[in-house]
């Protein structure tokens, strides 16, 4: 049951990230390299999230979905980490875009103000 809560809390964040990157790629807002890297990163996060706990249980000789060892703190902590990673990733992308815009603006202004 706790494992299910963990998955239900985190899956929407990961799916949102995947939908975001696919939409941006389809709208040609990101390069294919960024698209590929982001897909790989979020797929790894998804696999680790879904697979690590059952694997840990199996290795300890318990049933795969026995979530007695999973505390509420574990669930909150994991969700916060995944959310912060998602937020940080988005912020970094926005920062990158703004930096590029500022640079282009500076270039254009400098050229225009040179009077040529």
């Amino acid at each position: 049951m706790r494992y299910l809560i963990l998955v239900l809390c985190n899956l929407p964040i990961i799916l949102l990230a995947l939908v975001n990157i696919i939409t941006q790629y389809k709208l040609k807002k990101v390069s294919i390299t960024r698209f590929q890297h982001q897909i790989i990163i979020w797929t790894v996060v998804l696999i680790v999230l879904l697979g690590s706990f059952p694997l840990y249980n199996i290795l300890n000789g318990r049933s795969a979905f026995d979530s007695n060892e999973l505390s509420l703190f574990d669930i909150v902590q994991t969700t916060v980490i995944v959310f912060l990673f998602y937020a940080f990733n988005n912020l970094r992308q926005q920062l990158d875009q703004n930096e590029r815009r500022l640079r282009d603006l500076h270039q254009e202004l400098s050229i225009k103000l040179s009077g040529k």
Binding site: R92, R103, S110, K116
Partner: protein
């Protein structure tokens, strides 16, 4: 020609460059100085010459200034662009040779290498520059003998397609990487490096090299999340 606090030499560098370019009847040319927010009289001195002067409002670093130069070349439909240091380190004859070699070698990015024939270069500089070329190879998979050379020639395709993020001197290596990513052909030709007391005082030392390596490493890691 990106220039930062080069008031002492900018006039003579431009005059020498123009004199050599005038000897060639095959090309029409424009010398463009990107004054990168200099705090001395670089802008005033540069405006006394025949060069076009673009004044950066903010200091953007050598990488930013070079990008502005390429942007100007793009907007004005230049067929070829050449970037060179404004401290007089490069011989104007090598610039003219670069234009010829670019067409001859059919390259998109032609790098003037001081290390193919490193006469006159101190051992420290040879080691530092070779080290940075090796780091460039390790991080980006492209090897050129002199990855930090400021004398570079760009084809029309390179002018249109090249872009980079670095603003500092690490842009030299990043540019090679971006050129490789854009499938631009990269070539080198030998140039001489003229070291005067002035250019030595302005030039990069090996400590700056460490800083460049640090920033390149960061750039490479960040790219994994791009």
């Amino acid at each position: 020609m990106p220039a930062y606090n080069e008031a002492q030499v900018i006039c003579s560098v431009v005059k020498k460059m123009a004199a050599v370019m005038d000897t060639s009847k095959h090309y029409t040319y424009e010398i463009v100085i990107i004054n990168d927010g200099s705090r001395d009289a670089t802008a005033q001195e540069a405006s006394k010459t025949s060069a076009t002067v673009i004044n950066h409002i903010l200091n953007s670093g050598a990488g930013g200034a070079t990008l502005t130069g390429l942007s100007y070349a793009r907007q004005n439909n230049f067929d070829i662009a050449i970037t060179m240091d404004a401290d007089g380190q490069h011989a104007p004859e090598d610039v003219l040779e670069g234009i010829k070699q670019l067409s001859k070698l059919n390259a998109d990015l032609l790098i003037g290498s001081r290390l193919i024939n490193n006469k006159g270069m101190s051992k420290t500089k040879v080691i530092g520059n070779t080290g940075l070329s090796v780091v460039t190879k390790l991080l980006f998979g492209v090897y050129v003998t002199d990855s930090q050379s400021g004398l570079r020639a760009y084809s029309r395709r390179a002018i249109d397609e090249l872009d980079w993020k670095s603003t500092g001197y690490e842009f030299c290596s990043e540019m090679i990487w971006r050129a490789e990513q854009s499938d631009l052909s990269i070539a080198e030709y030998p140039i001489q490096a003229i070291y005067t007391d002035y250019s030595r005082s302005k030039g990069q030392n090996n400590w700056n090299g460490i800083n460049i390596v640090k920033r390149l490493l960061k750039q490479r890691l960040v790219e994994l999340f791009e």
